[in-house]
Amino acid sequence: MKALDVTARFSIERIALLLRNRLLEDLPGFAIGFAILLGLNALTLLLGKTAFMNERSGGIWTVFVVSSGILLSSFAFKGMHSGRSGPDWLLLPATPLEKYGAALLAYVLIFPLAASAVSTGLSALLYLVERALGGSGGVIWTPLLSGGFETWGAYAVMSLVFLAGSATFRKRAPLKTFGVLTGYGLVMAFILIGGVFLIYRSRGLLTTEFDFRNGVFNIEGAEGLAALDGERVGGIYETAMNILFYGILPLFSLGFGYLKVAEKEARDEVQ
């Protein structure tokens, strides 16, 4: 076996080894998840001659692939924070960039591809079994049925966010990341609503004030907004949201997550 060159500042070989280790570590959990899905579908096939995950558009497959990928992303750096495994994680001979890069590749790219391929295979298998049992078979799920690249794009952004969360939070990383995201969303929404309110009112386009009824915020006098070019406003809003979601958020998460890994220290014993 050819020895690894440790003198290189950045090594694809080391990333490949880290990636292999990561995937092998995740494999048992991944297999158990799919075994549970198969078991549940076998049950519904036995009881009602229908594989429930192939029903309608097979959207449950999408939910399964996306949510399991996000969950894995949110635990990606758990070992780094642990008081016991942390020093070994930090001192494994690979740079922080390589360690972060391997997690990035594993959960942003390889996991969704592998999980989609396995899901498509299982969906096809269930389709055949259901047909053999006299059922309709439902649909064979493929990633294209769930929006293809667009869904993957949204998944990739969320995976990056949860990777950054995992690099930041020592405990309950998925919950805390979700909390931060929700808080951030709410703050942004209030800023946006406030901005819209101020601008529109200053132009005399809002006839009344905010209104809070039945738990819902309304900006009364929305008829005034019709005076603006609705399509143009909608377009600007969509572009801004796309820049935020597909540009700023992933770039920020990428940089922040990497820095958290690079700065991590095993500071958890004598305090």
Partner: protein
């Protein structure tokens, strides 16, 4: 060589080391001694690169370990007091983790595993505490790294295993390798560690090599301390165990044992320093050098 230059480090606002100076040369097995909380583990972690100093500098063979570049990490092994191992069998562990260290000697590792009677068909997580320590030690010795940092390696080992550990560690010593062993069990490592570094109060109090210790100090069992050049003494039921300055006559005098020297370093540092310089010692007053008081502080 490992160099700590004016190094400062602490947890939160509490400084653990302030202006620490220390130089450790290859070719030796250093013993790192200190009271609980003195920062022995932190010092090892700083040398490994798992912690970064807040001030001053650390270099290991000329590079900053805090940069965590792959070459430096492959050249250093830190064995924690309670080593963590993944749920893998030894062979799988080798395939997954030893590959990151190109100097790893698989044949030597296999020899060590056999010698330490470690079950190769068992998951590493099913190993006992002592077995995990032995496995981690075998991995460290076979790693080919030039820096071995061992934190309390003899804790949890049975008596035969301690002897085995001493033998293995002695065999791991090389001219180009720095081995640092932090320990409370100085008697377990008495004839292995040399020099000894005593850390106390955020500083290196002493770096003592066996040559200087044997030349300048002696230990003796005495019924009374009167008339002796006592550096430090501990009372027991039948008399005193005393550390005496060089030149002290007495047929029962022995080479100083490390535990007594360590206690002297903590409880009577000025007297020990004077004895090592060959300076005259003032009269010894046991009540002024109570170890328990120092340990509390």
């Amino acid at each position: 060589m490992i160099e700590f230059r004016s190094m400062t480090f602490g947890y939160g606002k509490r400084p653990l080391f302030e202006g620490l100076e220390l130089e450790l040369d290859p070719g030796s097995i250093y013993g790192l001694l200190g009271l609980n909380g003195a920062g022995k583990t932190s010092l090892l972690k700083i040398a490994a690169g798992a912690l970064r100093p807040t001030g001053g500098g650390v270099t290991v063979f000329g590079a900053n370990p805090g940069d965590r570049d792959a070459a430096r990490l492959a050249d250093t092994v830190f064995v924690a007091e309670d080593p963590w191992l993944p749920p893998l069998k030894p062979k799988t562990w080798l395939d997954r983790y030893a590959v990151f260290r190109p100097a790893f000697d698989r044949a030597r590792f296999a020899e060590l595993i056999r010698e330490l009677a470690l079950d190769e068909d068992k998951l590493l997580t099913k190993y006992s505490y002592g077995q995990r320590k032995k496995f981690a030690l075998a991995a460290a010795i076979a790693s080919g790294a030039r820096v071995l940092l061992l934190d309390e390696p003899t804790n949890g080992l049975d008596i035969p295993s301690k002897a085995q550990f001493r033998r293995l560690l002695a065999s791991a010593a090389r001219e180009d390798r720095v081995i640092i062993v932090s320990t409370h069990q100085v008697r377990d490592l008495e004839n292995l560690i040399d020099p000894v570094v005593v850390v106390h109060g955020g500083k290196v109090l002493f770096t003592l090599d066996s040559g200087a210790l044997n030349e300048r100090l002696a230990a003796a069992r005495l019924p009374s301390l009167e008339g002796h050049r006592v550096v430090y003494a501990e009372r027991d039921a039948v008399g005193w165990t005393a550390l005496l300055a060089a030149g002290e006559p007495g047929p029962g005098n022995q080479a100083p044992d490390l535990e007594l020297v360590f206690n002297a370093a903590i409880a009577a540092p000025d007297r020990l320093a004077a004895a090592l310089r060959g300076d005259p010692l003032p009269e010894y007053r046991p009540e002024e050098h109570a170890l328990a008081k120092e340990a509390r502080e």
